[in-house]
Symmetry: C2
Subunit: 318 residues, 2 copies
C-alpha cells in the first residue's frame, strides 16, 4: 500500500463543533463528519471524536487532532477555551484508548495553517503568516519552509499583538490587543454596548431571524450587506487595527504571504483580505515586493487536512 | 591546518565606525582594528576595510562583512543609512577586488545576533530575539535553531513594531513605532524639543563636556547617573515602549531568550535589560516559563565575531 493511498483521519476540535475527515496522502478529504462540541468535559469529547472517526469510510493508520490549546512536543500544556478541561487531562491517552491508531496532537491555529500550506492557499510558500478571524483572532507561522511553533508551542498569537496600548479591553485582560477590536466576541460586546448607549443596529435582529445564539459571521455578513452602519463601523475598525498588527508582524518577520481564514473571511472572501492588506501597507517598513495577501482556500477543511498531515508526518517520521 | 585554527576576518561597517577583527574557529578575536566610517562614498569605505584587514595579524581565508543594509542571498538590496550609497553599489565586487579572500555579506543586526549566538549571550538557544538599542532600534532573530532572515532579508525590524499608532513621529515617517520612543536619535530630538519648550536638562552640557557631536550612550548614562530628570523620563518612556514591542514580539514568536545589546545596554548592563523585561511582562499572553532577558556579552565584538562566523560557514558550505 503506497503512502499516498493510506488514509489518515484529521480531527478539528473547535469551541463550537468537532469536524473530522478521512484524508488520503494527496491531502484530499474523502469523507466528513461533524457534531457540536460536547460541553460536559473531556470524556464526552473523546467519545464524540471516536464515534465520528469510526463512522468515517475507511481504516485510518493514524489520527491527527487539532485542539484549541497549547501543544508542545506532543504534550498538551493548556486548553484554555474548552469547558471542564485542565492541564492534567490526558488527551493522547484518552483518544488512543478509544481509537485503534496512533494519535498526534497539534494546536488548532497551527494545523489550520499546515492544511493551507500542504494543500491550500499557502502551498509552496516559505515564510507565511496565517491570520484566523473567529471568536478571537488567532495566528500561525510557517518560517523558512517549515511550521514554526515557538519554544513552548505558543507562537503565532497575533491576536495579542498590541495595536493601541491602554485601548479597548481584550478578553485576555489586557487593553489594546488587536483581538479587542477584531475578534468576533469583543466586536459583539462593543455592539451591545453601543445599543445600550442608544445606537441602532440590525445585528441582533438578524441574529434572531437566523436563529443564532450570537452574532455569527453570517450575521455580520448580512448586516454589512444590508448597509448596517454600526456593523460597518465595527468591521472598518477591525480592519484598521488588523492592519496595524499585520504591519508590525511583517516588519518583524518579512513573510512573503499572509493567509487569512476564519468565519468572516470565508463569508466576505478576498475583498475583506484586500482591505486588510491595504490597511497593513502604511505600517510596513520594507515589505517584500512579492508579499501577497490571500484568503484561505480550504475553508472548514483546513484544520482537518492539517491535522491529518501532522499525523501522517509523525507516523512516517516515527 | 584544522578549521579551528584557520583565521577569518570579521568586519562590522557601522554608520560611525568600521571595526575589524581576526577571528579563529573558536570565535576568539585575536587582533582588532577600528577607524571612523568614511563619508565620501563606497570606494573610500572599501579602501578603509581593505587597509584595516591588511593591518591585522595573520592571513584570513575569508572575510565576513556586516553592513547596515538589507542583504538577501548574498546580494545587497539597500544600504539606507550610509551616505552616498545606492542599491547599484557592488559591495562584493568592490571588496573582493581589494582583498585576497572570498567576501560574504550580512546585515549588521543579523551578524550581531549571530555573534552572540555562536559565542556570546545567546549561545545554545533555539529561539532568540535580538534587540539592538542604538541610534535606532534594530533587531534580529534566531528561530528553530537557525538564523532567520525573512523572505527578502528584511526580518527583525522590531524598531518599527507599532506601540502607539498615531503617536510620536519616527525617523521612518510613520507615527508610533517603538524607535520613535527608544531610538537614541529620536530621544535626542525629543530632548531638544523639550529644551525648546523651557525644560531643563544636563544632557547637552554633558555632551559638550565630553566633546561629543550628539548625546551618545555615555552621555545618556552620565545624565542618568547625575539624576537628570528629563533624561530619566525619556529613558523611562523608552523602556515602557520597548516593553510593549517586545511583548508583542514574544506573543508572536514565543522565543526563549531576548538578548539586548547596543550602546546604552552596554553602559547600563543587566539593570536596563531587567527593566525592559519587567515592562514587557504585562503584555505577554503566555510566555515560556524559561523565557530569559540577558544583556549581550560580546559588546563591540559581536558584529565582528558574527561576520566572521557567517564567512566561515559560507566557505565551509561552499
Amino acid at each position: 500500500m503506497s503512502a499516498s493511498r493510506t488514509l489518515v483521519a484529521g480531527v478539528d476540535v473547535g469551541g463550537t463543533n468537532i469536524q473530522v475527515g478521512m484524508v488520503s496522502g494527496d491531502h484530499e478529504v474523502h469523507d466528513r463528519g461533524k457534531v457540536p462540541t460536547p460541553t460536559s468535559g473531556p470524556d464526552a469529547v473523546f467519545d464524540a471524536v471516536a464515534e465520528l472517526v469510526a463512522d468515517l469510510d475507511g481504516d485510518p493508520v493514524a489520527v491527527g487532532v487539532g485542539i484549541p490549546g497549547v501543544v508542545h512536543a506532543g504534550q498538551v500544556l493548556t486548553v484554555p477555551n474548552l469547558a471542564g478541561w485542565d492541564a492534567d487531562v490526558d488527551l493522547v491517552g484518552g483518544l488512543t484508548s478509544r481509537l485503534d491508531a496512533p494519535v498526534t496532537l497539534g494546536n488548532d491555529a497551527n494545523v489550520g495553517l499546515l492544511g493551507e500550506w500542504v494543500a491550500g492557499a499557502a502551498r509552496g510558500a516559505r515564510d507565511v503568516l496565517g491570520l484566523w478571524l473567529g471568536t478571537g483572532v488567532g495566528g500561525a507561522l510557517v518560517l523558512d519552509g517549515r511550521p514554526y511553533e515557538g519554544s513552548r508551542g505558543s507562537s503565532g498569537e497575533i491576536g495579542h499583538v498590541q495595536v493601541q496600548p491602554g485601548g479597548a479591553m481584550c478578553g485576555c485582560g489586557r487593553r489594546g490587543c488587536v483581538e479587542a477590536y477584531a475578534g468576533r466576541r469583543m466586536m459583539a460586546g462593543a455592539a451591545h454596548a453601543l445599543v445600550g448607549a442608544g445606537r441602532e443596529t440590525r445585528l441582533f435582529a438578524i441574529q434572531d431571524e437566523e436563529d443564532r445564539p450570537r452574532p455569527t459571521s453570517s450575521v455580520w455578513a448580512r448586516a454589512l450587506d444590508e448597509g448596517d452602519e454600526m456593523a460597518t463601523q465595527l468591521v472598518d475598525s477591525a480592519v484598521e487595527h488588523l492592519g496595524v498588527a499585520v504591519g508590525s508582524a511583517v516588519n518583524l518577520l518579512d513573510v512573503e504571504l499572509v493567509v487569512v481564514g476564519g468565519g468572516l473571511p470565508e463569508k466576505l472572501g478576498q475583498d475583506l483580505v484586500d482591505r486588510i492588506a491595504a490597511a497593513a501597507g502604511p505600517w510596513m517598513l520594507r515589505p517584500s515586493p512579492e508579499l501577497r495577501f490571500v484568503v484561505s482556500s480550504l475553508g472548514d477543511d483546513a484544520g482537518v487536512v492539517g491535522a491529518a498531515a501532522l499525523a501522517r508526518a509523525a507516523v512516517i517520521a516515527g
